[in-house]
């Protein structure tokens, strides 16, 4: 038995070690180079770079155009649009890092109010820009929350509207006029059912769609000062307190359930996208969605003749209020070192022409005072509510994100247990109020 195994040094040993070493140094150098790159600002002198935090993914192209125009007119300012995924988390991380952007676009939601209360935005009080903005829009923004309760921390650019979308052709064919009272709405729904047409297309697989119709009704029925009053009560919320969900919202929940009783069978299993598609193809006469659903509906069927009306929830047409949120609000970081340049950019953004062009492109309502009639035929009917200021804010913007409003309403529409759902809301509110100063003080 012979062993033929001998051992020798591989010739490539040193070479390989060398290669490893080189790899290490390349990686290290690359890392170093990158660190320096990201660390320093562009070397161009005299040009101020503005960090523009932009929350709306759909509007990236429009803002790119606006920025290009702005930079052409202001060669000393360079605007970097930071269009972020998951804006609510992104803005918080920036604040945590203490890197408040120079200029921000934000949705007019509860999050904006919370940030404003924390005092991270500039105070626009007395700014001439305010004269050009629809006061009703500014009022809705202010209701979200401001620093110390007195400042003006954001400016409305464009607004959305949360009404009922309806198929004009179906309404015309059935001889139904746009309802202006609750009874007319129910009569219309009954008539459609009798004609074999689904009145509403329910999409409860996406819980937030239930929240949308709750907003449409509740913002009108819940009482004008419901949320400020609720906050004043602090953690003392329940069936026996002065205001509470259990006290002020039974009618809203009953009417919500009534509308959903007209939804198609199996509405629990249909999604927002299903609803847009079905409505676009005439499978239902109405859709309880805001105007943001118009884009996907028109994408599914560009020829649909669609309109929108506010939820008529009382017997008096005079009472009708359109539920509207500020879709894009603009603000400036409180401590930005480039306030003057930021202000120039904001001035440019909020010019009437810029806003109107932007609103038309985004299928939204201009936040400008005395805005021109909306050229979008689907939105034209709602424009008067803005002109006359008959608009109210969303209720879900007043409810902290830690209360799972969508699932609670979804659950209610599944089991119809109104008392249980309202008690859950009150309980949750109480818990949040007990641990959150912003809900408690309301300032």
């Amino acid at each position: 038995m012979t062993d033929t195994t001998t051992y020798q040094r591989p010739p490539r040993r040193a070479q390989r070690r060398h290669r490893l070493r080189r790899l290490v140094s390349v990686v290290a150098l690359g890392a170093l180079g990158l660190g320096t790159l990201s660390g320093c600002a562009p070397a161009t002198t005299g040009v101020v770079t503005l960090d523009f935090f932009q929350f709306k993914a759909e509007a990236i192209g429009d803002f790119d155009t606006i920025i290009a125009e702005f930079e052409a007119a202001n060669p000393d300012i360079h605007v970097v649009q930071n269009s972020v995924p998951d804006p609510d988390t992104a803005i918080r991380t920036l604040l945590v890092k203490n890197k408040v952007p120079d200029v921000l676009s934000l949705g007019g939601s509860g999050n904006l109010g919370q940030l404003a209360r924390a005092g991270v935005f500039h105070d626009f009080t007395g700014d001439p820009l305010l004269a050009g903005i629809n006061p009703a829009v500014q009022k809705i923004l202010a209701a979200l929350g401001t620093n110390k309760g007195t400042e003006v921390n954001a400016l409305g650019m464009v607004s959305n509207a949360n009404g009922v979308l309806y198929n004009r052709d179906i309404f015309a064919a059935q001889g139904i006029a746009v309802p202006t009272t609750w009874d007319e709405l129910i009569a219309a729904a009954d008539k459609l059912t009798a004609a074999g047409i689904t009145p509403f297309y329910g999409t409860l697989a996406d819980a937030w769609t239930a929240q949308v119709s709750l907003n449409g009704i509740g913002a009108q029925l819940g009482g004008k000062d419901f949320f400020p009053d609720l906050r004043k009560q602090g953690a003392d919320v329940g069936a026996s307190s002065a205001v509470s969900f259990e006290k002020n919202y039974p009618e809203t929940f009953a009417k919500l359930a009534k509308l959903y009783s007209y939804a198609q069978p199996g509405y629990l299993g249909k999604s927002y996208a299903d609803g847009n598609l079905a409505f676009a193809h005439g499978e239902s006469a109405m859709l309880m969605q805001g105007i943001w659903a118009l884009a996907p509906i028109l994408a599914n069927n560009p020829d649909i003749n669609v309109g929108s009306f506010p939820y008529p929830v009382t017997d008096n047409p005079e009472d009708i209020r359109l539920v509207s949120g500020v879709d894009v609000a603009i603000t400036i970081g409180r401590d930005t070192p480039h306030y003057a340049e930021s202000k120039r950019f904001v001035d440019f953004l909020l010019q009437k022409e810029t806003v109107e062009k932007f609103a038309a492109s985004q299928n939204m309502f201009s936040g400008a005072r005395d805005a021109a009639p909306n050229a979008n035929p689907a939105l034209a009917e709602l424009q008067p509510y803005f002109t006359t200021g008959q608009i109210v804010g969303f209720i879900d913007h007043q409810i902290p994100a830690s209360i799972p409003l969508g699932p609670i309403v979804q659950q209610f529409l599944t089991d119809k247990d109104s008392a249980g759902a309202l008690a859950t809301l009150d309980n949750d509110w109480r818990k949040v109020a007990a641990r959150t100063p912003s809900t408690r003080s309301g300032d």
Partner: protein, 618 residues
Amino acid sequence: MPTHVLTRPTPERTTPISPARPRRRGIARATPRAFYWMVVPALAIFALLHTVPVLIGVFFSFTNYAGFGAWDFVGFTNFLALFQDDRVLKAYGFSFGFAIVATILTNVISLAIAVGLNAKIALQSTFRGIFFIPYVLSILVVGYVFQYFFANALPTIASNIPVFRDNILTSPDWAWTAIVALAVWQSCAFAIILYLAGLQTIPQEALRSIRPRRRDTGTSVPFDHLPADQRFLHDQHGAQSQGIPAGLRPDRRPHQGRPGHLDGVDHPSDLPGRFPGRRVRVPVRERGHLRDRDPGRLIPAVPSSSAQGGRLLMTTSTLDTPAVGPAPTSARSAHRRNSAPRRRAGDRPRINWWATALIAVCSITVLVPLYFAIITALKTPDQLTGTGFELPTSFHWQNFVDAWTLTKFPQALMNTAFITVGAVVLTLMTNSLVAYAIARNMHKPFFKGAYFYLLSAIFIPFPIIMLPVVKETALFGLDNQVGLILLYAVFGLSLNVFIYVAFIKSIPIELEEAAYTDGASTWRVFWQIIFPLLTPMNATVGILTCVWAWNDFILPLVVLSDPAARTLQLSQFVFQGQFNTNYSAAFASYLMAMAPLLIVYIFAQRWVISGVMRGSIK
């Protein structure tokens, strides 16, 4: 550098565990300072980037801090609110049940599929590639596809089954099954790799067990039950133990990288007596050291039979192909005389068509969602209707163009690739180093403490540390790609050290002692002897880190500040608007983001599976 010879015996070693393995624990000398240099900086960074955030996170749980603005100390209010909430308690119960059901199902299904994939089936590597896909698919794709399937396709297909008819996701009693299905579907992919790796260590013959067992006469290892290349190794041992005078045995030489082949320790001829039933293990481990990347940089210059063995080692996924080596050595042919003819007949690559058919059927569960994702990416938005499986009326390639431009794909791809490669390289080089120092000094309280300290972090969920980490990275100027690479290496440390330490403990310490005797420094021993030996674990840790870094969303989202540094997973969010998602373009983009990972895997899968496999043998 003083040579590290056997000096100070530690108390443990005075009472050896087993007389046969007298020097298995620890290195028999004063701990070189180098070991501390390996561990202490890592511990410091870990403490800074993980433990400090945990403590801050725990502190925050007693406040109502939102990350900015004023805050109050609220005591146990948050905890009370949680535990007084029925939904939270319900969620605990659900999570518990979910974890049990999903874990059992994942393992049962993965094992079954892995057995199938390990059989002699047609298109084996294609099928292995297919079953890996769920692991690299973004959860966004998986979520959408499954949701659409349950909400639209299933009610149409299974319209006579009540639960499926009206969207199982809306049924309070049955929705969880859909979620379990999704979770199992995705987690099976990695489990299959692990099982596949494990299965490959079991000889084909044992699986078939057609022929009666017989014991080989030369040594007592049941020869017939070893795969071909192991038989070769076995022959080598036989030759060495029988034919070479003890003093001339190669394993006596320093720098001889053949752990497991040392006197009295793990010698194959000892195996049946000492480790009955573990006959395969040692020879298999040997394979790693006979490759041309021999850890001691000393390769056996053996004639054809060894070369044959070496080649086999590199392509372990072809193990089941019988190796009919040319010109067997004399020792080998001695064994061959008895077994070779019959083996050749029994081992001929016969395709198991039953297994192929079964695997093909199983692979449909992967291919159907993939098909769905691909055709969705080729549709216009108005075609996203029906069951979702219909072919588009016309292929809308524009989605890919849109995805390319809207996500700024080239830049995002480069960013992602830089972060991923950086994270993998840094993780492999640092984590193995830390693990090595710990594994070799486990008998010292400091290192043992460090081990359990790092290990304890496995149980801390990321959300606890997210906010403080964001704050810290910004404070240290690490809110960029370099910081991200560092975070992956630090956060991966817990699990990776756990993986590495277990493996390093199985590497005989005599190897290193030989190197020390020759005057190698601790660092050199690590880089030249241990690190190459860690290849199997590097493969495992490499895939884990690679897929994690590539598909991660939350860490890049919260850490990166500069929009230009954005990764693929972040830039893809451009398709998710406030209310509306452009699914077609999003899917095109998801597929493009997944493609590089999948391509890398297809090319590397043999290496990955064999790497993981060798790691599974200890």
